[in-house]
Symmetry: C2
Subunit: 400 residues, 2 copies
Amino acid sequence: MPILSASDALKTILEAVHPQGTIAVSLERGLGYALAENVISEEDIPPFDNSAMDGYAFRHDDILHLPVVLRLVAEIGAGTYPEVTLKSGEAVSIMTGARIPQGCDAVVQREWTEPEGKDKVRILRSAPPGHNVRRRGDDIAKGNEVLQRGCVLRPQEIGVLASLGRTQVTIFRPPSVALLTTGDEIVAIDQPLAESKVRNSNAYALRALVEELGCDVRDLGIARDDREELSRKIEDGLSSDVLITSGGVSVGRYDLVKDTVEELGVSIMFWKVNIKPGMPLLFGMAGERPVFGLPGNPVSSMVTFVKFVRPALLKMLGHKNVEPRPTLRAKLEESIQKADGKRHFLRGILDSGGGALTVRLTGPQSSHILTSMVKANCLVIIPEDVTHADVGDTVEVELL
Amino acid sequence: MPILSASDALKTILEAVHPQGTIAVSLERGLGYALAENVISEEDIPPFDNSAMDGYAFRHDDILHLPVVLRLVAEIGAGTYPEVTLKSGEAVSIMTGARIPQGCDAVVQREWTEPEGKDKVRILRSAPPGHNVRRRGDDIAKGNEVLQRGCVLRPQEIGVLASLGRTQVTIFRPPSVALLTTGDEIVAIDQPLAESKVRNSNAYALRALVEELGCDVRDLGIARDDREELSRKIEDGLSSDVLITSGGVSVGRYDLVKDTVEELGVSIMFWKVNIKPGMPLLFGMAGERPVFGLPGNPVSSMVTFVKFVRPALLKMLGHKNVEPRPTLRAKLEESIQKADGKRHFLRGILDSGGGALTVRLTGPQSSHILTSMVKANCLVIIPEDVTHADVGDTVEVELL
């Protein structure tokens, strides 16, 4: 099988995966997920003309010549229904948010008035028609499409849905994700660390990456480099909507993961991508269920997740925008050499101080240096055909 | 009490609030929170020299003249302890991640070799000392400070902590936040909307904003404009670490919230800020517990939350960086007029297409237009002393 370019690999993945149904959840639970429905308003918001200020409402025709004294016929608090219909020469005292009575078409704030006896008010400053009146339907008109399918629910969208009286929303069903770490050298983090072993940090970093997207994680633990154990755990993992393995990066071991996955009916779409870190990256489909075989090095597994698995999960979650995060252009503060023809994703520190964006590397870029990801706030992308970049050259960076 | 500037108001808030203790949580639960401890490594990571490649390990002195044939004395898989100590003329077959035996100081990948009979290998290409050797402690050296108090735990920090065998971490205890909406005109969103009433959307938008920060929310529901009911609910709210009310924005009603809060022993620090939207913004302290009285308009409550409450919660959560999100500078696509001497936070749409950052407004900026927050991806900040900005002028924007 040929080695795919990063862009072809991503294209293959995004063509293969799809949302798997929708689910109704309570409005609060919808935060961070993508809507699976178009939301049409069945009402006007605000539902009635109301006052933007504490003050006095009246007919604009009555205040053409100032100052003028109007007779107070009612006091209208927020939440009350004004029974009056205003006649010429009359005004009502009105509070912010209160419904404006019939016949009124302008409001002046209290500061622009003076009391005149007990039941009159002197208007001192003019106000054009509609002044301080919040019109019915100003925010949302009945019948309008307020939110579109695929829109991600932030606090403001949650607020708008609440204002429409929506207690439930339909979102794309978040896929369940099974995680499996493979390798004889891996031990659980709560176990003593025997000679020549390393801890299963990938399970934690990958779990966090998946959970940030709002998907539930099932941690299958560690499979040793043993065909039977691997087969049993992978089969278990295929009962989730998505299976992500990490490890088995060696030539021989990788075949073990690949062969086992294939034996279990997974159709393998590719297993090498022309990138660094992360060249051995397996992607296959078990029916509608994607399977990702990530490399075992901690940096490689995180970077390949961000570049390839996250877009897949976002597409399954119904997001419109599933591509990796927006890229910026920054000036390099050090030179970079490479000769392998791969697309490199280097860990970088982007700095916006001093006006222009600049970026430097975090230090050694070997894929076992997980602290490089801790220092990094971005990935520096060096395309396949670039062999070197000098100090001051402009490079593409992707925020982490 | 004088009207404070936005910066003085924020300063007052940040001087008053502090983290309220720490709590140990399981590593997975730590995602998104700030560490309340400095993490020093008790070991080297990786804990032993290991191979970066599938290949052959040997003494570099043996391959000074190529090609050379070395005798294979062992095959070392990942996770196994190599018993051999290499002598001159010998090599071992080694897998990625496997521990490098004593005596070896370089590894060449399998592709640069040829088998020579059953138990020998021909090395075809040279490799400098240390080639493909991942040194013990390369990532983290024993005794080093790996993560600092105040550092926010992203997936990569979670991964690093797992690699150190940390099953628990100490974070700053997330404050509990009580939410109360006030006003006779407000009804719960699952209730029929009577004449002249509006739905309690603030409870949902504010809940989402608080939950995004990782704090638990207790929704106290709605208090009518009734001193006794307000007092009872506010007293209940003061048993949480933070109380946020919204509404009561009218002159008379605002006094009701202010007086009730004061009666209950809250020391009021300010209640007017020279901003738009959101001028009536109350901040007080009940002992160590902050109380925020936000305006009731949906846009005003969200904007004042983002500008004043979020920094307070972030400080209580132990974040080092609590100031509002980083600002960018963009070119205005429309002109802006203002004459009120306030600092304005306008809802804007930032566009980075075409190289330069440009920003336009979302449309009408009245504080009851919640859909302006839905259209917005940023706030455009117009300082107090600016009376107009023209097309093409550079303005400060803050990403939402």
